[in-house]
């Protein structure tokens, strides 16, 4: 059967082009791969090759013709034994195949549901965790540092499942640059506590591959500042694969390490990445404050079938909190904690920001202002319901974080409140953030660059008009 040769699209955006030159003439025999013509697009002159073999029966568009639309028949190719009359009839049916295509496409689109719910992100649509206490009343607790809590969580999960392993710089023999993995090498051996060379991009990629291959990697970054070397694998390889594979495979794993400013380590070691990772669909982002949260959330993160960013803080590592003594204590991802109840203002924070939020709440209480303090704990999926519920009661909101102001977590919370609780707000939301500067080294400047308790107090006074 004679086949039509159609004007090809030769770039992602091409709609028409110039048929610059025919390199074959009627009667020529061609086989697949032979160059038939040169076609000019808006970007380049391209060679156009034959796909089928046959004889050029008729040239329908003369060379030099401009503005030839994509899919216009430009020639007719005859199969062995056909004569030119077949070309005539094919030519008169011009565009039959191409037109059919277009029709089918239109049809397909028409049959799609007319109004698909303007679905909120699946993260937001995730099932709501119940507002219950994290552990039963009366449970025995033990004073534990955040450091120990993280180690205990990893150890418990490694005992629970053989395919959980830890990798990173100095996690094994050195016992952890910040001693988070202390004792793990002794208990689990070098197969499961893997010291890596200093090669973040490489070992993050290897860990993603190991997750594809059936393991549950925990990747320790000595700090999240170094994870910028690996961010392509975190986002492009880990976060997007489940979607790109149509649900066939993903990367169940944890990327963890200290995040944000420590003390006097300068601009390259003092950045808060909460807002960066918060933006990525496919990632979950956790940033705990207390030791109980660090433990319960780490255990959940390791079990979660998705890539989880677990943002710790060096200054918090040595702080002690009460942790319940339970065989298997977990906290679900995506559930905020009401750290302090109050009626006059809602202060939302997470991670080390909670230090300022709670200090400010104490100071304000002395002046008769009762702040409700919400510890988000998980930044994505974010428990926005908890914030909205609280704001409906207090009608005011202040957010607190150490990260920069533009594109901040607080900025996102403000936008959620504008859209979903506007009528409940009696004052603009104020975002207390780190200053919009790289972290300075000088002690006085560094202190000023971070958010301060006084700034939080001041912000609350503004929104409460007191």
């Amino acid at each position: 059967m004679a086949t039509e040769i159609l004007m090809p699209a030769l770039s992602p955006t091409m709609e028409e082009g110039t048929l610059a030159k025919w390199l074959v003439k009627e009667g020529d025999t061609v086989s697949s791969g032979d160059i038939l013509a040169e076609i000019e697009t808006d970007k380049a002159t391209m060679e156009f090759e034959a796909v089928d073999e046959g004889t050029v029966g008729k040239i329908l568009i003369a060379e030099g013709t401009e503005g030839v639309k994509v899919n216009t028949p430009i020639a007719v190719l005859l199969e062995e034994g056909e004569d030119a009359s077949a070309a005539e009839s094919a030519g008169s049916n011009a565009g039959s195949e191409a037109k059919t295509e277009v029709k089918e496409e239109t049809k397909a689109k028409d049959t799609l549901p007319a109004d698909v719910p303007a679905a909120s992100s699946p993260a937001a649509a995730a099932p709501k965790p119940p507002r219950t206490p994290d552990w039963p009343e009366g449970t025995e607790t033990k004073t534990t540092t955040v450091r120990e809590a993280l180690r205990d969580a990893m150890a418990e999960e490694m005992r629970r499942a053989d395919n959980v392993f830890l990798m990173g710089e100095e996690v094994g023999e050195y016992q952890g640059a910040y001693k988070i993995s202390q004792g793990l090498l002794d208990e689990f051996g070098p197969k499961r506590v893997v010291d890596t060379p200093i090669t973040e991009h490489g070992f993050a990629g290897i860990a993603v591959g190991a997750a594809f291959g059936g393991l549950r990697p925990i990747v320790e970054f000595m700090t999240f500042n170094f994870a910028m070397q690996a961010i392509d694998h975190i986002i492009n390889s880990a976060a997007k694969t489940l979607y790109m594979s149509g649900g066939q495979m993903g990367a169940p794993m944890v990327f963890r390490g200290p995040n944000g400013a420590a003390a006097r380590v300068g601009a390259q070691h003092s950045q808060d990445y909460a807002a960066w990772y918060m933006q990525i669909p496919g990632l979950k982002v956790v940033m705990p404050y207390t030791a109980a949260d660090a433990k319960g959330l780490m255990k959940s993160a390791i079990r979660d079938p998705n890539p989880v960013i677990f943002l710790e803080n060096e200054i918090l590592y040595g702080r002690s909190f009460e942790v319940p003594v339970l065989d298997d204590f977990t906290i679900p991802l995506g559930k905020a904690r009401i750290a302090r109840e109050g009626t006059d203002v809602t202060i939302v924070s997470f991670g080390i920001g909670m230090t300022y939020a709670l200090e400010a709440a104490e100071k304000l209480a002395a002046d008769g202002i009762e702040a409700e303090v919400i510890d988000l704990r998980t930044i994505r999926p974010m428990d926005t319901d908890a914030i909205i519920e609280s704001v409906k009661k207090t009608n005011r909101c202040v957010t607190v974080e150490e990260g920069w102001p533009q594109g901040s977590v607080g900025g996102y919370i403000s936008s959620v409140l504008m859209q979903e609780a506007f009528d409940h707000l009696d004052a603009p939301v104020i975002n207390c953030t780190g200053k919009d500067v790289p972290m300075p080294y000088a002690a006085n400047l560094e202190k000023h660059a971070l958010v301060t308790t006084d700034e939080v107090v001041e912000a609350v006074r503004k929104v409460t008009y007191k």
């Binding site: 159609l6 004007m7 090809p8 699209a9 030769l10 770039s11 992602p12 697949s32 791969g33 380049a44 391209m46 060679e47 090759e49 796909v51 994509v70 295509e101 089918e104 496409e105 397909a108 799609l112 549901p113 698909v116 679905a119 699946p122 995730a126 499942a161 395919n163 890596t196 060379p197 090669t199 991009h201 490489g202 070992f203 990629g205 290897i206 993603v208 591959g209 190991a210 594809f212 291959g213 059936g214 393991l215 549950r216 392509d232 694998h233 492009n236 390889s237 694969t241 489940l242 979607y243 790109m244 594979s245 149509g246 649900g247 066939q248 993903g250 169940p252 079990r303 079938p305 998705n306």
Partner: protein, 348 residues
């Protein structure tokens, strides 16, 4: 230590003595012919559908490089893994993925391997142990080593073929990976598909290194250069590499010298090389033609036999094209699925 170097140039047209393939069973040669032809015809059809606007975006064809994947798949065993870059259609067909599912992914339809959500550069098949389909140049290299890390951890004696091009060979993460793969003795074959052009930049314009596989020597990784237009040479080299990995000796590098006939992607006019250069390759080194000649000169097959294979392949490819047009576009609800996994996957 780098070891051997096989003959790097395929014999010129007509000088290849018939005995070369004479010890290979006819069925095996026919299998290579068929597999390579499937890739060639599939890619030509994909190019055609792109021209008709049915395939969009970036589309990188594998035409000319068919012997690489077909030769290496012949050296693989069930359960071995493979991962590659965005020039991935050939790898998928060679490992047994359904041409219909691949073509329907190219057209962005529900019947595609990723339900239309991945496209040409992002396809996967857990069933066939094909781990993508990666769009960031070089990113698949540590991921491939990671798959091998998992295999070693699970002690399952599997090998991972990690393909990348001469362009990716200049990415830093490749060398980070070499270092760890050798340090941990991971069962991974690094396959450098050297088609001589990283988009428009020839190897000569991107590195002073005389050869790419020899860079492995800096990490103590063995390797060799292979004639990538000769499917039998690729298979033999593949077997050496796989044996090395399977014996627990760590990674192995194959630099496979190949050539792509088409541009980097569909929108590349390929002005950085002459038409004569491409034509010369097609005329003298074509991998399919080489096997075709072996089959005919060795009296393994008649012209009629080969025509029958051609016809069968044409039907498979046409069916895949039909399927890729008829399969509906994904439902709009699919926009919101597969972002997060709900349940824990099977623990190994």
């Amino acid at each position: 230590m780098a070891t051997r170097k096989t003959s790097d140039a395929a014999p010129a047209k007509g000088t290849n003595p018939a005995p070369k393939g004479s010890n290979i069973p006819a069925d095996e040669l026919k299998h290579y012919y068929r597999e390579m032809l499937l890739i060639r015809r599939f890619e030509e059809k994909a190019g055609q559908l792109y021209g008709m606007g049915l395939i969009g975006g970036f589309c990188h064809l594998y035409i000319g490089q068919e012997a690489v994947v077909v030769g290496l798949e012949a050296a693989a065993e069930e359960g071995d893994k493979r991962i590659t870059s965005y020039r991935d259609h050939g790898h998928m067909l060679a490992c047994g993925m359904d041409p219909k599912g691949v073509m329907a992914e190219l057209t962005g339809r529900e019947g595609g391997y990723s339900k239309g959500k991945g496209g040409s550069m992002h396809m996967f098949s857990k069933e066939k142990h094909f781990y993508g389909g990666h769009g960031i140049v070089g990113a698949q290299v540590p991921i491939g080593a990671g798959l091998a890390f998992a295999d070693k951890y699970l002690d399952n004696k599997r090998v991972t073929f990690t393909y990348f091009g001469d362009g990716a060979a200049n990415q830093g993460q490749v060398y980070e990976t070499y270092n760890m793969a050798q340090l941990w003795e991971l069962p991974v074959v690094f396959v450098i598909e050297n088609n001589q052009y990283a988009m428009g930049t020839s190897v000569q314009r991107s590195t002073k290194s005389p050869s790419l596989w020899e860079r492995g020597a800096a990490y103590g990784i063995k390797g060799e250069e292979v004639d990538g237009m000769d499917v039998l040479a690729v298979k033999e080299a593949g077997e050496r590499a796989v044996a090395h990995c399977r014996e627990g000796k760590g990674p192995y590098i194959l630099e496979i010298k190949t050539y792509r006939y088409r541009g980097h992607s569909m929108s590349d006019p390929a002005k950085y090389r002459s038409r004569e250069e491409v034509q010369k390759m097609r005329d003298e080194r074509d991998p399919i033609e080489q096997v075709r000649k072996l089959l005919l000169t060795g009296n393994h097959a008649t012209e009629e036999d080969l025509k029958a294979i051609d016809k069968e392949i044409k039907e498979i490819v046409n069916d895949s094209a039909e399927f890729s047009k008829e399969s509906p576009e994904p439902a709009l609800e699919e926009l919101w699925t597969d972002i997060y996994a709900d349940e824990a996957p099977q623990e190994a």
